[in-house]
Symmetry: C3
Subunit: 678 residues, 3 copies
Amino acid sequence: MDKIFYGTAYYDEYLPYDRIATDTTMMTEAGHTVIRIAESTWSTLEPQPGVLDFSHVDRALDAASRAGLDVIVGTPTYAVPAWLVASYPEVLAETSTGRGRYGARQIMDITHPAFRLHAERIIRALVDHTAQHPSVVGFQLDNETKFYDTASPAVQRSFVKHLRTLFDDDLGALNEAYGLDYWSNRVDAWEDFPDVRGTVNGSLGAAFDRYRRGLVDEYLGWQAQIVREYARDDQFLTQNFDFDWSPGWSYGLQPAVDHFSAARTVDVAGVDIYHPTQSRLTGKEIAFGGDMTRSIKDGASYLVLETQAQGQMGWLPYPGQLRLQAYSHLASGAFGVMYWHWHSIHNSFETYWKGLLSHDLEPNPTYEESGVVGREWAEHGQSLLHLRKTNRVAIMVSNEALTALRWFTLETGFIDGVFGSSIGYNDVLRWVYDALFDLNVEVDFVPPHVEDLSQYAMVVTPVLYTAPESTLATLRTYVEQGGHLVSTFRTAVADEHVKVWHDRAPHGLTDVFGMTYNQFTTPDGARLAPAGRLADAVDGTPEARTLLELLRPEGAEVLATYDHPAWGEYAAITRHRFGAGTATYLGTMTEPEVLRDVLGALLRDADLWSWPQDLAGRVTVRRGTNGRGRELTYLLNYSASTVEVPSPVTATSVLDGARVTEGDVLAVGPWDLVVLEG
Amino acid sequence: MDKIFYGTAYYDEYLPYDRIATDTTMMTEAGHTVIRIAESTWSTLEPQPGVLDFSHVDRALDAASRAGLDVIVGTPTYAVPAWLVASYPEVLAETSTGRGRYGARQIMDITHPAFRLHAERIIRALVDHTAQHPSVVGFQLDNETKFYDTASPAVQRSFVKHLRTLFDDDLGALNEAYGLDYWSNRVDAWEDFPDVRGTVNGSLGAAFDRYRRGLVDEYLGWQAQIVREYARDDQFLTQNFDFDWSPGWSYGLQPAVDHFSAARTVDVAGVDIYHPTQSRLTGKEIAFGGDMTRSIKDGASYLVLETQAQGQMGWLPYPGQLRLQAYSHLASGAFGVMYWHWHSIHNSFETYWKGLLSHDLEPNPTYEESGVVGREWAEHGQSLLHLRKTNRVAIMVSNEALTALRWFTLETGFIDGVFGSSIGYNDVLRWVYDALFDLNVEVDFVPPHVEDLSQYAMVVTPVLYTAPESTLATLRTYVEQGGHLVSTFRTAVADEHVKVWHDRAPHGLTDVFGMTYNQFTTPDGARLAPAGRLADAVDGTPEARTLLELLRPEGAEVLATYDHPAWGEYAAITRHRFGAGTATYLGTMTEPEVLRDVLGALLRDADLWSWPQDLAGRVTVRRGTNGRGRELTYLLNYSASTVEVPSPVTATSVLDGARVTEGDVLAVGPWDLVVLEG
Amino acid sequence: MDKIFYGTAYYDEYLPYDRIATDTTMMTEAGHTVIRIAESTWSTLEPQPGVLDFSHVDRALDAASRAGLDVIVGTPTYAVPAWLVASYPEVLAETSTGRGRYGARQIMDITHPAFRLHAERIIRALVDHTAQHPSVVGFQLDNETKFYDTASPAVQRSFVKHLRTLFDDDLGALNEAYGLDYWSNRVDAWEDFPDVRGTVNGSLGAAFDRYRRGLVDEYLGWQAQIVREYARDDQFLTQNFDFDWSPGWSYGLQPAVDHFSAARTVDVAGVDIYHPTQSRLTGKEIAFGGDMTRSIKDGASYLVLETQAQGQMGWLPYPGQLRLQAYSHLASGAFGVMYWHWHSIHNSFETYWKGLLSHDLEPNPTYEESGVVGREWAEHGQSLLHLRKTNRVAIMVSNEALTALRWFTLETGFIDGVFGSSIGYNDVLRWVYDALFDLNVEVDFVPPHVEDLSQYAMVVTPVLYTAPESTLATLRTYVEQGGHLVSTFRTAVADEHVKVWHDRAPHGLTDVFGMTYNQFTTPDGARLAPAGRLADAVDGTPEARTLLELLRPEGAEVLATYDHPAWGEYAAITRHRFGAGTATYLGTMTEPEVLRDVLGALLRDADLWSWPQDLAGRVTVRRGTNGRGRELTYLLNYSASTVEVPSPVTATSVLDGARVTEGDVLAVGPWDLVVLEG
């Protein structure tokens, strides 16, 4: 790509009257270069089985062509038409709460043959119809695909067959691996296998979710294969990945898809990233989502297929924020930003998930600001494109740990909701990620099956609750060979079947950490007493949160103990030199500021502290090397006040062309930024 | 009617032993004049199919006759007998959560033929049996009728047939009007119409509710027709309407019935009104319910068929409150007050929804206070009866707007509960109503299809989110010809199909309001900066609530802007002279006191400020003209302290016969009142 | 028994590798004497229908035998195997929410013939296999048995047949007793009886629960009969009773079992008691559960079959607490304490309900502390065993009142959740129990059908909402003959059919209490104004809580009135001399401290105040007579600080053998205790 992708999802289908010429003109005036079409419009494309109507597609392609806009065509399968469900009700996923009703999207069993047959027909017809159009630059497969809690009898039968393979038909091995003796849950004949939806066995439940994440890989692979039969070589395939949405925005690791494995199917990783804005805009979600999406394709640039324009009720950007957000995506490595969506829809469900245009379809301040971005990008694209990062810090993330910690929550030890609620995997992941972000430490994400970590000076494993021996071996080798490992509480607790290890904790790593423990509990008022090199870095005795592992050092340096009448003898944070590296272990959670202080001290020890860390708290720094091979530095101001910082580099200020010498004072306005090249 | 209806619902069926003679004696001693019987006692009247037993009815009629009490006979249909459901389980409504179980009342499909057949038989038998009894003065049709979320296949088929008629069999028109293209929801063959219970389309969902409100009209009309075959000309037909009950009392507009259209069926509007009491007695619910019930029958007097005696756990009235409440109903235009119910029931479900008598069936302070009321009314009835009001202010209310705002809530833009909760239509309606009540401004309610508003000096439209063009035209004409229109945020947003208008907002009224906007968001800390004529009326910079519409004046005077770093350039409240009238627009919500100040300023401008407004905050004023053509003024003290006010009129104090001259100091005791005639 | 039972539940089945020799060695080293096996392991014992595998049982028996440990064998029936449900899905209980899914335990219909047939087969085989083993000292029948909300058609048919018997086939009598006329719920043909799960009739609903509690008695009796065919005379039968678990621990009376009647089936009452610990350890749950379990077998010693070792996340005991807890059980009359469970389980559901050993199966501080207990008990068992109590105070408890108050909650008058939530029966029971505990007053519990209360100087009836006339007569006689009765609000409200009495309240006891009332409400800010002998005992005007009964004395002394503008004339607490005794009535609830003051004053009046009450607030006193006929006094310190008290007796300090003279200062350390004998 030689220009930044900038545009919107465009639905000619949803517009109340014909205004496509006006719309494409407004787009080009705003510097837009691309639209995404057809995604989720199956019933318009095929109003009755086998009756095809590509008129909206053709209108969009023609108008785009005339306006010089590129087009990404989405397969329409993530929302099934009424006629399909009317004829085949069993296409609706049967979930843990039973069979749903037709209406929403993402409600089908993605393995059901009737769905697959009809989906294949419309995909073939649409891709065949559009692939040769010169404006079409790529295809999106489905949208925000997940497994939708499908648990039909057919899916369960196939899961049991998968288990037969996994355990080589040995039920005894399965009973032992999953601990099914407990509460009389043993299965001693395959045909007795109970409905998994009722299980209380966390190992079995987690295995079912892992299996179902595999269904997503298979489904996307199947779509990719079909589309590739038609697509030109210069057209890319992508998927719109999305994240755990629990607080109402793109928050953390996606529970229902393994992004690392699903991403193998596509040429380009696409993503949707939604986040709080206005006074709550911090840049964290944009950076988190971007770092993740870049990481799942080995550092390649990615495409933000959806992000908010005016968005939901509280997301109307303040002046400057839309532009700041757009640059923030590029600063994480995106090669394009596309809004969902061009126009606000006048009916149905997402009427108040607003597009770039309001319901009146006239220009408005948000659209105008998009034009500022578009024109800047047209001018400065070559400086901004093809950003590559060489981060020294990685965070290991695990779908399996996430799922396991829903069965055994951190604060209760039970399934969430039984005996109370608890924070989850993503809360700890974000606790770690956000602290590093606040320190201007950029990170990659790595999966548990990574084989070589040597490119990283520091690796953090937040709550890596469950992992195979091989992952633990990788971590051991990493430290031995000079890496700095930082693990939190509840790391290396259970094997890949979510069976808790029955030897000393943390399993297989007690010598690496120079520490062990076999008791843990909730805080009950405990605080941290910093010690050793943390004594200066951390103020006072901050609160210990979530849980306390009662660590007993065996060679490790104690960085903090518990300030508590009963647990004062135990360590809370330890650090150990092992081989050529170090291994730090956090036995409890803290308020964010304390973790920042702790990580800051560890970064200094590991010689990773540099000028971005000195700027932390004043301006957000994101860096990389652009397509011209020059160092690109973003200084982003996520605040309503102007910030003044000394320039960390001697460079050209991309957006105003000014020459900046290291040490010059740079003023970054409210919700504004500076990009330095060279 | 030449005397005030005063009495209770009486259930001889539920009493633990025969004491009907004692009861009717106690009633007449307390000045009661009427009882209501038979409502909800189907299984007693017809213990087995076709086996009739009117003994309790006959006992009640005989005892009433002996005691000189009038009787209202209720058809018993709102609670179905076990034998009906045992034989025809499908009589139970199939709702959005499936088919229920027998037990509660109001659980049937009011359209089901088996229900209708058996209901008709018992109605005919009961009315035939009682109509000629001289004590029977009227009939109540069913009770608190609603559509009970009925969504059986038969109801849905009939809804689809209704849509075929509405759209003249044109599915394309329906798809466009409802925006069904979105998320692939198009329907291109009528036989593909999906189960409406699953829909995510707010237009379709709202249409289904509107259709089902029509079922209530049809059902009540059907009962009315049957009863009228038997009723004497001097007997009235009524229905016990009730209100939105969301906080646990009669709170706002009823979502499941269109009272304006349903009221056409009956001769007399009946109503139940329940409300907080003790330290939380304000008179607002009594006034609100009364104003609504009077309005749905064009200002005619109405009958409070149910209100609390001792009521629920926290509703035992303080000394004086039962009497104050009783007069409050008359002050809104009621011609009678009936308690639910005479005696507290000893079993089942509403054992602690207590009657006038406690479970011991002996006199108690509440009963005694009822006697005070009864005797006063016997003496002063002619002063109090036939109250007519000629209010200068009206509030336009809309079931359609209420429903639409459940699909698109004010604070989230989504269905309530998806991405958070929100205040609803009735919260805004009550915000407006209560502020006017606090200002001693009495109001009528008008429906969206009102044709002429010229009798009103001021019309308020709280969140009139959806309305047909004709309603907007009526409002335009109203202002043009000199009316003072006050509209809140989210008025004139969508058409009658809940499709958001695609031109400038507020649709069709931008010239009337001299203002437009196309962006809005949540407050995020915004406050109001009063300006112009509001600068003096409103103190400080009060909080802006719920949402901010970013108003851009086009000729309007700005009465307030937003005090907010990003939105300071926009107006929050505007006022515009248009034709001979004015149009004020409130772009945000405020705390109640601020709205009172704003409305106060507008009332002064419109020359509507008079002495009741001067008394506001000290004593509640309710007025009208009584049957003798004299001005009747209630001064009601909803507080635990005595209040002294100068008499606003020269008149007779009805209850003590004293002559009062304008300006005389009147002391109104705690939870007490003064009624002035002439 | 000549030694204290001390041990754990042991599951060889769940262990990840063979370590039974190590385990039993660790047990004996810790002074353990007993294990419980086989409970809930049906699928291991019978992996396929009729295929038996007792290898784990044999391993455990052999190892126990070698180590000199006693064994309790549990029938495995409380968790059904997958194969049973696969063949007979209807074995799963059909509850108010429908049929569940296989997975959890306690999900079957305990009356289902397929369950009974297979349960009988495995019980017979297991007991036959183990009964003659010399290490087996007893059998546990099932586990924590309840009726699991079973409401299948068969159970409902049998319930209706039960009603036919109860009402002598007279439907009219049933309709009247239950008040089914209300809301048209009459049943006039037995075959019309509706699904009870939908009922809104509290009388019918309560009768169904009472009937289902009877199913538990029948089921346990059936198991007992089978086991007794095999058990030796020296082997006992027990059941593991448990309590209402609503806040997440053993909190109050069990709603689903009548412990008094179910206990008749067994030789020894067993119980599980779980409770907060760490900073929230108070001893109250241990004492409450112990007093209850002792009471249901007429004061006999009982066995704590389950209590926490490391327990749930927040239950890891502080140093000293495990020991203090163990002694606390003995102090209530237990003859043994068994932890659930030996080792922490590595998979499934209760992975974090931790045993004495952590997942690493190594010694840890909790295990070590258990060894301290075990060795002390081995040494001092003869002083501690066979404790008998002769308490002077009793609390009357009622399953029927508990159930009724779920239908008619104290604060709302409705089913919990309809129009708000409310505290329940057990909250009031614990309010009373805890106040007495805080006063060091030990109590027995008595059921409503107790015939003679003369052994007690004081009897308290917390919210005895429903009771037959006979119970009220027992209470009357008790007072008449010199007893001191203390009743709370909502006592003697309804008959045994939960029909509210229709005469003056409290029914049948107005002369006993010298008081009546017929109105009550919620507090709305009311406070208590102490009077008479309470004027000095209670400080200030404490808050009145939950509800106010407006008491009108008829001869009673007023101990408190309401401090409230409307209710000041009514009494809140009254006391009346009747016959040779007194009757005190509390018309409202208070904060715990106030109830303690009130009860303190009543104890002084009744001459029940002694030295334990003088020590109250400093140290917890529990007493009895041990097997050697000597007075045993426990001074327990549930706090983190050392407490010094004068010795109340001259005795031997059991644990250190010191001789103590009355008045000597005893220092009781944090979470420590002193036991005095003689």
